[in-house]
């Protein structure tokens, strides 16, 4: 589906079309949930935020300004919802702190047998902004510009987040 198709569907959603919105949801749910799962580290929390994202999109469909692609707009909503949810949860922050302390005392992790699990575990230790930039660009295949629009940050900041996050992942995995 092209962005033009998405825009038509979003416009019809703004006029109250359920079927148009269902098509949008079916088209983007997998990528959006994948982004949130990798960002938040918990599938149930991620799906919860994804549903809140689609609820917000349904409500705001009429106010879509059209400056960015619909996909980017959806990810921007998801990013805001994820940050709000994180502020509410608090436990993630505690987990991040505990993980950072663990990393300081234990040094690089022994690589477990599953490379993917090790990477995801190391990713969970990154600050949220860096994690989001890495997931969008390396996981969802977004360009730096698209990721910048989704995260509401300058392109330079996104590049910096990716470079720093990547370096920290390599360090955590003992991959220097």
């Amino acid at each position: 589906m092209t962005d033009e198709d998405d825009r038509i569907r979003l416009a019809r959603t703004g006029e109250g079309s359920e079927s148009a919105f269902n098509q949008l949801l079916d088209e983007h749910q997998a990528a959006l949930r994948s982004f949130l799962r990798n960002l938040l580290g918990n599938d149930a929390d991620a799906d919860d935020v994804a549903q809140e994202t689609f609820l917000a999109a349904w409500t705001m469909a009429r106010s879509f300004a059209g400056h960015a692609a619909v996909r980017t707009w959806l990810f921007a909503i998801a990013w805001r919802q994820a940050k709000m949810a994180q502020r509410g949860w608090g436990r993630q922050r505690r987990r991040d702190r505990a993980y950072a302390e663990f990393r300081e005392t234990h040094g690089p992790l022994e690589p477990p047998p599953d490379d993917g699990a090790a990477i995801r575990e190391a990713l969970a230790g990154l600050p949220l902004d860096q994690r989001a930039a890495i997931v969008l660009c390396l996981g969802c295949g977004m360009t730096h510009t698209e990721a910048a629009e989704s995260l509401g940050a300058p392109v330079g900041t996104i590049k910096s987040h990716i470079a720093r996050g990547r370096a920290r992942l390599q360090e955590a995995l003992g991959d220097d």
Binding site: N38, A50, L55, G139, L169
Partner: protein, 100 residues
Amino acid sequence: MDDFDARIAAALDSRSPPERDPLFRLDYLRRREERAFRARLLWATALFLGLALALSVCHALFGSDALEITVILVCGAGAALFGLVVIPVMPSILARLRFR
């Protein structure tokens, strides 16, 4: 994209949900219905309380002569509450029960 980036991409991809997921859409629709229902209930309750307050004031001002009007208005408010909350969700309830 170098080898390390490819490893990250593969690790991230392994958490992807299915491309088509009807359960997710159903959960979303259920949540939207619940939220809309709660909003309608809130409005209806506010309307009912507003009317009840207005009637109490009328009753206090005009005494027991206003009792008949009070009863009629309370019934009217009850009917409005029913209409506001229940009637909008009836088609979807009937559709789910396959009565339509």
